[in-house]
C-alpha cells in the first residue's frame, strides 16, 4: 500500500536520502534501523508529507504524496504518525487529544468520537486517565495516548519514529505491548526503532539505512541474525552491546 520509489532529498547542500525505495504491503510491519543521521526520520516524514522530497515518487494506494497538493491533508488522515516526543496537545485532556482529529478533521459527532476515543484509551490501558492533562502523565502513558490519537483517525497505516527512545527503560514495555497488539491485529506499520528484540519478534521485514540508502533489507530474522553487509554487522554489534 505504501510505495517509495527512488526518492532523493537534500537539506541545502546535504544529500540526506540518496535513492531510497521501499514497498510496504497492507498488514505488513517494516522496521527501519540504522545509525543516527542516516535519514530514518526523513523517510518517515516524506511518507506522510511532513517533508517534501526532491525526486522519485511516494504513493499510498497509488495516490501520490505531494506536499504542495491540496489532497495532502486527506492523505495524512490515512497514514498516522507517532513521534519520539509524543507531541500531545498540552492544553487538552487525554480524551480531547484523541477526539480532536475525528471531531475537527473528519466532522464526526462528539458522541461518536467520544465513544471511539474511550474504546481506544481502554485498548492502550489508559481508560482511567481520560480526564487528565498530558503533563500529568508519564512519558509511556503520553506515548500510548499519542498512539490512540493516531488510531482515532482509523488510519490504514501508522508510522512510528523511535516511539520508545524518549522513555525511561521501565516504561518502554507498555508502549511496545500496544504496538505488538496493533501488529497482531494486522495494522500496517513502519517503525523506526533501536529495539532490536521488538524488531526481531514483530517485524516482517527489516531495512537497514545507512547514509541515506537502504543498504540491506530482508526478513527480520535474517537481517538481524545473519546480516550480510559489513555496515549492518557493525551497527548491530554496537547496538546489541548496549
Amino acid at each position: 500500500m505504501i510505495a517509495i520509489d527512488h526518492i532523493h532529498k537534500a537539506f541545502g547542500a546535504t544529500q540526506v536520502l540518496k535513492g531510497v525505495s521501499l514497498e510496504v504491503a497492507a498488514g505488513e510491519v517494516v522496521c527501519l534501523i540504522g545509525p543516527s543521521g542516516s535519514g530514518k526520520s526523513t523517510v518517515l516524514r516524506c511518507i506522510n508529507g511532513l517533508e517534501s522530497y526532491d525526486s522519485g515518487a511516494i504513493t499510498i494506494h497509488g495516490q501520490t504524496v505531494d506536499v504542495r497538493r491540496s489532497d495532502i491533508h486527506a492523505l495524512r488522515t490515512r497514514v498516522g504518525m507517532v513521534f519520539q516526543r509524543f507531541n500531545l496537545f498540552p492544553h487538552r485532556t487525554v480524551l480531547e487529544n484523541v477526539m480532536e482529529g475525528p471531531v475537527f478533521v473528519k466532522g464526526e459527532s462528539r458522541a461518536e468520537a467520544r465513544q471511539h476515543a474511550q474504546a481506544l484509551l481502554e485498548k492502550v490501558g489508559l481508560a482511567e486517565k481520560q480526564a487528565a492533562y498530558p503533563t500529568q502523565l508519564s512519558g509511556g502513558q503520553q506515548q500510548r495516548v499519542a498512539i490512540a490519537r493516531a488510531l482515532a483517525m482509523r488510519p490504514e497505516a501508522i508510522l512510528f519514529d523511535e516511539p520508545t527512545s524518549a522513555l525511561d527503560p521501565e516504561l518502554v514495555g507498555d508502549v511496545l505491548t500496544v504496538m505488538r497488539d496493533l501488529a497482531a491485529e494486522g495494522m500496517t506499520m513502519v517503525v523506526v526503532t533501536h529495539e532490536m528484540s521488538f524488531a526481531k519478534e514483530v517485524a516482517d521485514r527489516v531495512c537497514f539505512l545507512y547514509g541515506g540508502q537502504i543498504v540491506e533489507e530482508g526478513p527480520a530474522s535474517r537481517v538481524l541474525s545473519e546480516p550480510q553487509n559489513a555496515r549492518t554487522q557493525d551497527f548491530l554489534r554496537r547496538v546489541l552491546d548496549h
Partner: protein, 221 residues
C-alpha cells in the same frame, strides 16, 4: 484642600476620565487587530510580506508616541482626510501600540513547539484549523499577561492625547489648574483617578500571571 473644590472639580475630571477610558479601549482594540495582523504577516513565508511587517514594526517602535500623534493629527488632515482630535488619538495610540502587540502575539505563537504543529498536521489538520485549535488557545495564555501590561501602558499614554487638545482626564486637570491655581488639589485628584483605573488592571494581570504559571505546571482547570 477644600472639600468644596474637590466636589466642584470631580465631575469635570470624571468627564475627562470617561474620554480617557474611551481612548484606551479604542486604542486597545485597534492595536490588537493591527498587532495580530502584523504578527501573522511577520510569520508569512512570503519574504516581502514579512519584511513589510518587520519594517513597519521597527519604524513605529523607533518613533516617540507623541510624534506619531502630532503626525496623525496635523499631517493627515493636509492629505484631505478629516480627523477629530479624539479619532486621531485613538488611531495614533492604536498604531503605536500595534508594534508592541505584534511582538507579544508573535512570542505567544512561537512558544508553541513545532512538534505539536506536526502532530496536528499528521492527523490531517489544515493550517487555519491548527491556528484555531492548537496555536492560538495556547498563544493567548502566554500573551495575555503582557497584553494586560500593554493595556496599562495605553491607559497611561492616553494622557498624551492632551497634547493634541483631546479633553481627556489630564487635559481636564490642566484646564482646571490653569484657571483655579489649585495645582496640588487638581493633580492629586488626577493621579488618584489614574490609579483607580490602572491598579485594578495591574492586580488583574498579576493574578493572571500566577494562574497561568500554575496551570502550566499541569494543575490545569
Amino acid at each position: 484642600m477644600a472639600y468644596a473644590d474637590i466636589a466642584a472639580f470631580f465631575p469635570i475630571l470624571l468627564k475627562g476620565a470617561v474620554v480617557t477610558v474611551q481612548i484606551t479601549l479604542g486604542a486597545l482594540l485597534l492595536s490588537t487587530l493591527l498587532g495580530l495582523l502584523l504578527a501573522l504577516m511577520k510569520r508569512s513565508p512570503l519574504t516581502p510580506v514579512s519584511a513589510l511587517a518587520g519594517t513597519f514594526i521597527n519604524v513605529i517602535r523607533g518613533l516617540p508616541i507623541i510624534v506619531q500623534l502630532f503626525y496623525i493629527y496635523f499631517v493627515i488632515p493636509e492629505l484631505g482626510i478629516d480627523l477629530s482630535a479624539f479619532q486621531a488619538s485613538i488611531i495614533g495610540l492604536g498604531i503605536a501600540y500595534s508594534a508592541y502587540q505584534a511582538e507579544n502575539f508573535r512570542a505567544g505563537i512561537e512558544a508553541i513547539d513545532s512538534g505539536q504543529i506536526e502532530a496536528a498536521k499528521s492527523i490531517g489538520m489544515k493550517s487555519a484549523l491548527i491556528m484555531r485549535r492548537v496555536v492560538l488557545p495556547q498563544a493567548i495564555r502566554i500573551a495575555l499577561p503582557p497584553y494586560g501590561n500593554t493595556a496599562v501602558m495605553i491607559l497611561k499614554d492616553s494622557s498624551l492625547a492632551s497634547t493634541i487638545t483631546v479633553a481627556e482626564m489630564t487635559r481636564a486637570g490642566q484646564l482646571i489648574a490653569a484657571s483655579t491655581f489649585q495645582n496640588t488639589t487638581v493633580y492629586t485628584m488626577v493621579a488618584l483617578m489614574y490609579l483607580a483605573l490602572s491598579l485594578p488592571l495591574i492586580f488583574g494581570v498579576n493574578r493572571l500571571e500566577r494562574f497561568f504559571a500554575k496551570s502550566r505546571q499541569g494543575a490545569d482547570q
